[in-house]
């Protein structure tokens, strides 16, 4: 058991290194084109982690998180416009934006969380379209199809991205910390019980609706806040960018690429996909849009068909298999039962609490239900 303490130390060192690297990033790369990648990647790390706090833990796949993202952007824009808030004081509006996101999540959740599985997903899509339509049609309130412009921020244009980088970094760090806290708490356990079998969880005394709604509100409030930061960073929001159907899809893709339901998964996924799509958009041969769309779809298919549990979980298994050199004693399923069973983990998993806590339940647990339908 003396090995038990060493991975902990390794993890702490890696974490400090990771923090140092992320903090130093804009100091080293001062080129705004590069820091732009950093800011947007961190915004999506936050969104994907926030999505995962709700959907990854509860198993309710939300394809409507753009509702919160766009609402956050619009709430900030409308409040700043109507109350003439200017300069950096706009960021004092963040709690208000969080409250707006939370209120929307309560109403949205009370409707959508009554139904499960496919129906839930479809309801989230429907609510999403209602919000997009409202942004288009409530012209005096949202500015219609022209959208809103953010008030001027008198930051020096040379290092304009840097403050945004640190704001986004703070959000990403806080969201990951919340995700870890949720996972380790009784609340997180209740959420995962709902994912595995909601009726049984209810029978065991989990107040399912309350637990689901709390996670949904938490996730929605974070997404709304980061949406308002994104709005200030981009300087404007339009109905089709604030409420973007592709946004919903990208967030889900990030979570699935990295590892749905894990802590590190959405982070890794966002760090791969967001810079990737940004880079693709700068390439002339992809500028038509259709090629990046085909590529995105193909990547999606490959992930879902070949690495359905994401690169964090699957990568962790591969490393375990390498370390044990195919000895039968440590199979992936057993790794989940032994704490610290895969200490090294992939380098990226160092941000996760433990690599093995991120495992799925064995596939057999729900196979019978899928058949019975």
């Amino acid at each position: 058991m003396n090995r038990g303490s060493r991975p902990w130390l390794v993890r702490a060192v890696l974490l400090v290194l990771l923090v140092a690297v992320t903090v130093a990033f804009p100091k080293v790369f001062t080129n705004p084109a590069v820091t732009n990648y950093g800011v947007l990647a961190l915004i999506f790390v936050t969104v994907a982690s926030a999505w995962n706090i709700f959907s990854g833990n509860s198993g309710y796949i939300s394809l409507g998180h753009a509702v919160f993202f766009g609402s956050g952007a619009y709430a900030m824009g409308i409040a700043a416009r109507d109350w003439n808030v200017q300069g950096t004081t706009v960021f004092a509006l963040l709690p208000l934006v969080a409250a707006v996101g939370a209120v929307i999540a309560v109403i949205f959740g009370l409707i959508a969380l009554r139904v499960r599985r496919h129906t839930f997903i479809v309801i989230t899509i429907a609510v999403f379209f209602i919000f997009q339509l409202a942004a288009f049609n409530l012209r005096s309130f949202t500015g219609g199809s022209a959208g809103l412009n953010s008030p001027f921020l008198n930051w020096p244009s040379s290092g304009y991205n840097t403050p945004f980088y640190y704001i986004a970094l703070a959000f990403a760090g806080a969201t990951i910390a919340i995700a870890v806290a949720v996972r380790r708490s009784r609340f997180g356990l209740q959420l995962r019980a709902i994912r595995d079998d909601e009726d049984r969880a209810r029978g065991l005394g989990v107040r399912a609706m309350r637990v689901k709604l709390t996670a949904f509100v938490l996730s929605g409030a974070i997404t709304a806040m980061i949406g308002s930061v994104w709005f200030y960073y981009i300087n404007q929001v339009e109905p089709q960018t604030g409420f973007d159907p592709l946004f919903d899809l990208l967030v889900v893709l990030m979570a699935f690429l990295g590892g749905y339901g894990t802590i590190a998964g959405p982070v890794v996924g966002a760090l791969i996909i967001e810079p990737g799509t940004l880079w693709l958009n700068t390439q002339p041969q992809f500028s038509g849009g259709y090629l990046s769309e085909i590529l995105l779809g193909t990547v999606f298919l490959v992930i879902v068909l070949f690495v359905p549990r994401g690169i964090v979980s699957t990568g962790g298994e591969w490393i375990t298999r390498l370390r044990t050199r195919g000895r039968p004693a440590v199979v992936p399923a057993a790794a989940g039962a032994v704490p610290g069973g895969s200490p090294g983990g992939p380098a990226a998993a160092s941000t996760a609490s433990t690599a093995d806590a991120t495992k799925y339940p064995p596939p057999a647990s729900r196979a019978s239900k899928g058949g019975a339908r």
């Binding site: 139904v115 309801i123 429907a126 339509l133 159907p245 889900v252 849009g289 259709y290 879902v304």
Partner: protein, 292 residues
């Protein structure tokens, strides 16, 4: 006012008939395979573009062209099932299939952009412009023809499902996949055929949609969200529910359009939310859908 209302209702019922056909395809796929085919919307647009190519390049009449596009779409459906859907198993199958069909939709959309460009097009024929005068208002012939074809195909689907051996296998698989397997039904073949049939109907839906609306490769999203609202409202897996819900929703939308053209589509979703608040399984949904 009254005349406008009647016009809107007739309009809604005729369009609803065609939507019913597309929705039945979607709900049939759900019933047998337990998946929601997000690609259905873009497949409708693909069907519309196939008709477009046939009519502009080969000068084949839209309705005659269906004899070609329906089998083509059927084959596309079977191929999608064989290549992707069939391979998904395990705990997260529900979300995985949604993502896979979403990815398929993205790829098809990208290919359509590449081949046809982003400009709006519309299918043209003599009957899309000429109208018939009934009950004091004008109605383009395409609405009536489209409705007749859709009704014929829905009846044909009904006969296929309730009067043939294949239909019995399909319904058995819908009720209980494991039991169906036990009595000797080849569930995988039934699933492939169902997916094919469910996709084949989009050829007709696409032709009608393309003849009554201007469309581009991006139009699929609007369509799929309407179709999803319809089949959820009707109750997932319920064919009768899909028929009733499409006529109800399209009529509602077309009536609301008289007063509030910009908000008509929101009424569509608002109705869905309201109905689900009262009855979470939809009009004719099975209880089992909720109890999992």
């Amino acid at each position: 006012m009254a005349r406008e209302l009647i016009h809107a209702i007739v309009d809604g019922i005729l369009t609803g008939g065609v939507y019913a056909l597309m929705a039945v395809g979607l709900t049939l796929i759900f019933g047998v395979l337990d998946i929601i085919n997000i690609a259905q919307g873009v497949l409708v647009i693909l069907g519309a573009y196939l008709s477009y190519s046939l009519s502009t390049r080969a000068h084949i009449d839209l309705f005659t062209g269906l004899l070609i596009t329906i089998p083509v779409m059927f084959i596309i459906g079977v191929v999608i099932h064989w290549a992707f859907i069939r391979r998904l198993r395990g705990t997260e199958r529900t979300s995985m299939t949604l993502l896979v069909t979403y990815a398929v939709a993205l790829i098809i959309e990208g290919v359509l952009y590449k081949v046809y460009g982003a400009d709006d097009v519309q299918l043209q024929a003599s009957y899309t412009t000429s109208s018939v005068h009934i009950f004091g208002f004008y109605l383009p012939w395409i609405f009536i023809y489209g409705f007749i074809v859709a009704v014929c195909l829905v009846v044909a689907l009904y006969l296929l499902l309730y009067r043939t051996r294949l239909g019995r296998s399909v319904r058995a698989t819908m009720q209980d996949e494991n039991a169906a397997r036990l009595v000797g039904i080849e569930v995988n073949r039934v699933a492939a055929l169902t997916f094919g049939i469910g996709v084949a109907v989009t050829a007709v839906g696409g032709m009608f949609f393309g003849a009554t609306n201007a469309f581009n490769p991006n139009s699929g999203y609007d369509l799929i969200s309407r179709l999803l609202a319809i089949i959820i409202l009707g109750g997932l897996g319920s064919i009768g529910g899909a028929l009733a819900a499409s006529v109800f929703m399209l009529t509602l939308e077309s009536v609301v359009t008289i007063w509030q053209p910009t908000w008509a589509i929101a009424v569509f979703y608002a109705a869905l939310v309201l109905v689900l608040l009262i009855r979470p399984t939809g009009f004719l949904g099975r209880k089992a859908v909720r109890a999992q």
